[in-house]
Amino acid sequence: MTMKKVFSRPASLSKTPFHYCPGCDHGVIHRLVAEAIDELEVGDRTIGVAPVGCSVFAYDYFNFDFNQAAHGRAPAVATGIKRTRPDSIVFTYQGDGDLAAIGTAEIIHAANRGEKMTVIFVNNAIYGMTGGQMAPTTLIGMKTQTSPYGRDAATAGNPIKMSEMIATLESPVYVTRVTINSVANLMKAKKAIYNAFKLQKEGKGFSFVEVVAICPTNWGKKPADSHKWLTENMLPVFPLGTFKDTFGVEKSA
């Protein structure tokens, strides 16, 4: 009797064990990216750009070419790569500190130029790699290393909603926010990431997928509790949904 293989590692995902903390969402999101690239059969012409932050070593986990960028500059680096090799599939993978703080100018202008690239934005409301500091997306009242009394809107402002901001621009063709707190939402996230890369493969324009994610280590919560906290606290501030879909990719799929 022969065994049928029903589940395996995507070809685009390397065999390197993840260095991420137990329960971290990065591993799952990496896998969704790898699956989308495999399904679109573009693994041989994909170039990734890794950020600074927890996913600084993202390049270790994928089987295609990678550039490791400076903090926040991934969209600028990706612009240079995509303009040089327009037939490549180019994406950045960035966290909230990288994309929504130090790299705000780079992401807004890459989106506004309509660079034909894909951005995977992992928003877990905190700086992970540096040990849990306040991020631009940290919730009001949320305690972090640098907001020990809770984020105070009066002095530290309010959580930045990147998807909503980017959706105000005319050039991006797909802007969506997803999460992976349940199987149903995981499947929606998988589809969104697939759509984003599909649009790039078709040369349509700039696509942006925000994944609302957990950081059990720096939130000081167990992984299951973290997803519950995300559902109850983050999703009201960062509502799921598609903010822009110029070509109706979600309907056509």
Binding site: A78, I81, T84
Partner: protein
Amino acid sequence: MAKVLMKGNEAIGEAAVLAGCRYYFGYPITPQSELPAYLAKRLPEVDGVFVQAESEVAAINMVYGAGSAGARVMTSSSSPGISLKQEGISYIAGAEVPCLIVNVMRGGPGLGNIAPAQSDYWQSTRGGGHGDYRTIVLAPNSVQEMADMTITGFDLSDRFRNPVLLLSDGVLGQMMEPVNLPEPNDYDINSKKWALGYRGNDKNERNLCSSIFLDNDELEEHNWHLYQKYQVITDLFSKGEYKDFAVEEHLCDDAEIILVGYGIISRILKTVVEKCRKRGIKAGLIRPKVLWPFPTAVFERLAKTASQFLVVEMSCGQMVEDVKLSVDGKKPVFFFGRTGGTVPSDFEILNEVDKLVRPD
């Protein structure tokens, strides 16, 4: 090709195109604006890419991306903008990605002014950004050399996978001179096997452009690897094939006083040397054409015959430190400088020479 009359900044642009550069990323700043303006018009004619970035920071990171994907790529700016690019230059040097960076220097510190200056010597030759790295620094003194050194700069950066800095100033950038342009070079974007997106049959399993080495031993190994590369470059300029390219000597053999200057200053110093000679003062000129690696050997040799050196810069004295290191205390090294945008006249430099050779 026939001689054409061009502004220095434009000559760099055309020479870049002839060198096979098809990618330019930059941000507006005076006094280098003619260069991006030229390329914004010229690059589309050759299926190239011109992007006006949102900042100098973004521009240099676009250069990092394009260079890592195998392009011959350049950016340009002026002093304050080059300060902003330092982060990217450090990453590019660390990841060993070739590119050409043009600095048309203006006065600083801070916003300073838009007049010509040479006050970015330290920033250019000491790394500028963080970490143990070097950039090759070329210093033209004419429109012709701006074109020639642009082409040499691309060749050097590809050969050593290292950023090359073309250090010019507001005078050279703005002035017009006849220039002989070379034949175009057909650069193949698929000539670098290490580049991201390389498509040859001998492709590596995977290419990575990165400057992170988290393990202590790995970073140390990488830093010594870079150091060894810089030693090879230094040898090439001090005794190898670029020996004559690196420095210009004028009437130094019997000189008692040797004037030292680079860029636009060197042209004024040549006039001063001629005037000195007419007045019976045995003056000579050393013009470093390459500022890193610094042409140390010529100073070591001439410190044996000359009795003193006078370094002239449009700064409060930066290159003078390298001259002192090279002369190594064997002869006195003096300095004369003007800053704030004033180019010293031959007359005032001659006065300084007089004070040194006829101290009474």
